[in-house]
Structure formats: C-alpha cells, structure tokens
C-alpha cells in the first residue's frame, strides 16, 4: 500500500462519514482555518458528504486571499520599476489589484518571475547581479521561515541585489479576530496542519481557554480531515480542548529551528488583512538588522501608482474570508467572477474558497 493510499481508503472514509453523521446530534458548525483544507474538503466531496449534520465553513487561511489591495498594487508598482525583477509564488500573479494584476503587468513588459520557494528567488538574484530581485513574502508561519532563511543566506553570500517585500501574516490573531467579531457561531475549529507544524499545537490553546471551543489540528489527506472532524464532533458537550490529529507532522511546541530563524530575521508588526482590516501583532516585517533587504525601505514607489481605489464593488471576499457568507451567496460568483476572469482573490488561489466552490462545488443539474 502506498503512503497516500493509506489516507485515501474509500471504505475507511465511508465508515468515518457514517460515524460522524450518527454522532452529530445537532448541526455542528466547524471552521476550517486553512485554504488547503477548504480545497481538499471540496475536491473530495467531504462537505457534501457531511451536510447537514456538520457544516464546514471556510476561514481566512488563504495567503493570497487575505493580501490587501494596497499591497498588491504596491507589488505591481514594484514590478514596473526599471531594473527590478519581482519573484512571486504563482497564485499571487493572477490576483487582481485595483486596476491590474501581476500577470497583466508581465504581459505588458514588467519582469515577473514565478518561483516555488524564496531560495529560487535568491538564486535568481545571483544569476542577475545587475538587477534587483524582490521576493514577494506571502504566506503564514509556513512560508515565513523559508523567506527568513533566504535573507540570512543573502547576507552570507554578500548579495546586495536581493530584497523581500514582507506581507507575511500570523494565523492565531486572525482566528481571534473572527471570533471576537461574533459574526459567526462556531462549534469548533479545524486547525491548520502545516502552520501548526511550525508553531506547535499549544498555539491554539486560546480557543478552548478564551472561547470555549475545541480545535483539532489536521493533516490534508481526506482521512486526516474526516478523523479530525470525528474527534471534534465527539468533543461536543465535553470539556473543550485542543487535539492533535496530525501527530505525524505536529508537536506541542512546533519546529524550534524554524521559529528561531523567523525571530532572528522578522519581528511582529501590525498587518492589513483583506476582510479583517488592520490587526495588531498579526504580521511580520524585517528586523532593523536586516533593513538592507527590506523592499519597503529600498524602493520608493510613487503614491500615484500604489494609492489606487479599493476593491471592486460587489466583491464579497472579505465576508467569505470571515466565514460570514458562502461563496455562492456573492452575486458576482460564477457570473462576473470566475477563475478565468477573477474579480476577487478568493476566486484566484487554489486555496481560495470561491475557486474551490467554483471548481468542485457546482451543482451537476
């Protein structure tokens, strides 16, 4: 049996689904924080299989989706500067800013390169010594350590043409902000597996302690998710706690090496989230000791380019990211806004709730 088959066995899945449906004595609402979970839940039809006993609500865990328009406009403006190459993860290239996207800027002549890790961007900087390479630092606690590592490595190599535009964000403050807003009633949270591998499951202790709801940290295979949901359903009515349903990847304390790398290079700052607004202590910026690599300080981008009007009217990505509405409730969904011609970022990213609903959730009739 292959490793992946072990977590995709149809008979076990059916057994778990039956068990969850039998145990849920009232409709239970669970938010999956992570966009990777949203994607898997839709792709494997888990959402449909659990309804109406368990309702899975998508959360803000899509790095591209929560990036504010002003940041995207700034990235596009950076890419248009002569002598600058912007290196970015793929999804980000397609996100519409106020007027254009990075891929449109690329088609019009801007230098935008798709990379798969920050170390690829660093390599690009070595190959192009006469140009400035700006890595767009997108993502949560999962990608921040690799971006931090690239900065440390740039210093070791003595590179002076490598920069990072940090838009990194931290997940626990976002979860808190959603619960504090009180717009959605949640019975439990499906904790993000990759993020928690870095920060450790103790980071979610505030969910039972401050909000009285359980959290199950889950992997991304269908059986991982079903098992975590089963545990959350089982915990209803008993003392809430954090359970680690992803013990092959997650520990209580997390990855210390990654944590120390992050805190060596990055410090906590406020961050502007699409949908959640500015949240104190929810972002990461470069420490003063690494200011030479900070694209925010190195490039003066004209306000005329970056201070453009906010989101497209009618786009409800913000409410979708907070779990307040479901993607099909947005009147642009599937009509004006499709993955081929996205208006909001949630329709762009593979981790976006709208894209997942569009690809996998449409009715067949």
């Amino acid at each position: 049996m292959k490793y992946t088959d072990e977590f995709r066995d149809p008979a076990t899945a059916q057994r778990l689904i039956q068990e969850i449906r039998a145990r849920a004595t009232r409709p239970i609402r669970i938010m999956e924080f992570c966009g990777g979970h949203t994607h898997a839940i839709m792709r494997y039809g888990i959402r449909q299989a659990l309804a109406p006993h368990v309702h899975m609500a998508s959360g803000p865990g899509c790095p591209v989706c929560v990036t504010a328009d002003t940041d995207i406009d700034y990235c596009i403006a950076l890419a248009r500067l002569p002598g600058v190459i912007v290196a970015t993860f793929g999804d980000m290239a397609r996100v519409p800013g106020s007027r254009s996207s990075l891929q449109e800027a690329r088609a019009a002549g801007a230098e935008v390169r798709i990379v798969y890790s920050a170390l690829d961007a660093l390599e690009l900087a070595r190959e192009e010594p006469r140009r400035a390479v700006v890595m767009l630092g997108i993502g949560f606690e999962t990608t921040a350590p690799t971006v931090a590592a690239s900065i440390v490595r740039a210093r070791e190599l003595g590179l002076s043409n490598y920069y990072v535009y940090s838009m990194h964000k931290l997940t626990p403050p976002a979860m808190r902000s959603i619960l504090d807003a009180g717009e959605v009633r949640l019975d439990a949270v499906l904790g993000p597996g990759h993020v928690t591998a870095i920060i450790g499951w103790r980071a979610w202790d505030f969910l039972p302690a401050d909000y009285g709801i359980p959290c199950a940290v889950s992997g991304f295979e269908p059986l991982d998710i079903l098992e975590a949901v089963r545990l959350l359903v089982e915990l209803q009515g008993s003392e809430p706690r954090v359970v680690n349903a992803y013990s092959r990847g997650v520990t209580a304390e997390g990855n210390r090496v990654a944590q120390s790398l992050m805190s060596e290079v990055l410090e906590i700052s406020p961050a502007n989230w699409r949908g959640l607004g500015e949240l104190p202590g929810s972002g990461l910026k470069l420490r003063p000791a690494y200011a030479a690599y900070d694209a925010r300080l190195a490039f003066a981008v004209s306000p005329a380019l970056s201070m453009e009007p906010a989101s497209h009217p009618g786009c409800r990505c913000g409410e979708i990211l907070r779990g307040v509405i479901e993607p099909p409730e947005c009147r642009l969904f599937g009509r004006a806004c499709t993955p081929a011609r996205p208006i909001g970022p949630c329709m762009v990213s593979a981790e976006g709730a709208c894209a997942a609903h569009y690809h996998y959730g449409s009715s067949l009739t």
């Binding site: 899945a13 999962t142 959730g361 009739t365």
Partner: protein, 342 residues
Amino acid sequence: MAEKIVLLAHGSGGLLSHELITSLFLKHLGNPILNALEDASAIPLADDQGRLVGQVVLTTDSYVVKPIFFPGGDIGKLAICGTVNDLAMRGAVPLYFSAGFILEEGLPFADLERVLTSMAATAQAAGVRIVAGDTKVVERGGADKLFINTAGLGLVPPGVHISASAARPGDVVILNGAIGDHGLTIMTQREGLRFETPLQSDCAPLNSLVSAMLAVSPRIHALRDPTRGGLATALNEIATQSGVGIEIEEIAVPIHEPVRAASDLLGLDPFYVANEGKLIAILEEGDAGPLLEAMRTHPYGQEAAIVGRVTTEHPGRVALRTLLGTRRLLGMLTGEQLPRIC
C-alpha cells in the same frame, strides 16, 4: 477597463484558450470545417462525378516546449507525436507532414541535430514522411532556442466515423493509461523547480494503438488526446460537443505514484495536467471487452481501463465520483495551473 492583451493563461488549453479561439479566431477565420473544433479537420474528397470517395484529415500544431530536452522526449519527438495523435484521434492514418522551424540565433548545431535525429526516428516509428519544410532564424531573444510547427495529412479508412461529437449515452469511457506524466515532467524540469523525481514524459505516437483498436472495434464513437488542460478539459470538450453527460470514477483513473507525489507537493490536480501519449476512447459498452484486450497487448495501452460512462444526465458536464464515494463536478481548466503556496 484596460486594453485587452494576450496573457499566458490564454495558451493553457482551458477556458481562456477556448474564449480566445471563439471570440477572435473563429470570428475572422471561421468556416463550417474549422468551427467543428476537432483535433484535426476532415475534408470530404469527391471523384470527378461528385461522389464521396473518402476523407482526408488535416491538422497543424506548434511546439514551444521548454526545456527542449526532457526525460522521455524532446521538442522534435513531441512535434511528430502531437500531430500524429491529432490525426489518429479522427481515426486517420497519418501520412505526410510538413515541418517549419523557427531558430533563435545562437542555437548550437549539436542541439538542432539532436532534435532532428529524434524527429526522424519518431517519424519513422509512426510511419509518416516529412515532405515539406521551412526554416527561419530570428535574432537572439526573438524566440526561445527553437520552435517547431508541424502540419499533418492523413486518410480516414472507409467505414470509420470518429468525432468528439459522437459520444452517446450508455457508452463507456476508456483511457489508455496513467495521466499527468508529461505535464509534471516538464514542470519539474523548468527553471525554478529543482527536485529530483523519476518522472518521465509519456510522449508517444498513438497511431499504431488506434489502428489496433480500430481493427477490433471499428465502431469507436469518439477519440480525444487529453493534452493541454488534461483529462478533465478533454472530457468536458467531448461532453459539450456531443451534448451528453459523462461520469468518471476517480479510483479507476490510473495515476503513477511519482505523479501523485509531485502533484500533491505542488498542489496541482493531475486531472488538469497535460499528457502527450494518452487517449480517451468512447464506444458502446458491448465493444469494450475486445478493445481493452487489444489495447493491453499494445505498448502504449498496457494500463488501459474503463474510467467512466456517458449519460443523459447533466448534458455538457462531467461528474466525478471521488475516492470517498462522493460525487462532484469535474470542470474545465480555467487558467494556468499554478503551484500553491502553503
């Protein structure tokens, strides 16, 4: 609104490509033959009395793959296989080819010769002859090393009527092997994605397989090679063109372990990844047994399997029964397939 410009996603083979073709190309160049949007166009041949005596099939394709050499093939092999396969998907016997080369200044002769050697070997294996050619050289930067265009002419044997619009409810859907190998091989070879995998392109000329299939089941309704846009997009094209629904069993679709591992890592869905040696065959259920047997004895059909069936439900759409036994829509590719972030 900004001025419309061509984006890379317009070339991905998905919804945007389709829109570009219908809104611009067909608008200006359309005619009943082209408008059918088949892999290759059938042109009826009449004798001097006006009687229909057969069909020639014509197709053309341009090859811009990067890198030009990759595990399992190269741009030359691809330029023959791709065009051979487009002809074979109409049931035609591929015969005569043209080849046009756009060379970038600075391309080493050795690379060019390696590509030509590979083209010659593939053409011989497929039984086609290159009878017309053209070469242009552009300034450095005007092309990326080497682009190739091939056009192919083939003849449809009497009695064979294969079209992507001929799938009928009750038919079964057969796939000749595992999906995703070509696209993931290319993606992992591209600059920026440096990890070692045992992946190999499935690039192969499928005409001998199609001949073997037609020998046992001349009544095949539809054939399609799921290239750009992958299996999901090709199935959607058949469903739309035939006005039928298609149901696919995820568990029946062969996917090699390295493909599954690499696509999990990159956050890609193998159903949308390009293939260059795969075909979808649609035919009556009663004809499937002998066909599968014939396919499995052919080198390019060893993993052939029934992966689904054609239905009257949800015409124009494709449904997937997932590994978990749940059912969902399997839509077309809608943009570039991009790796995920976390």
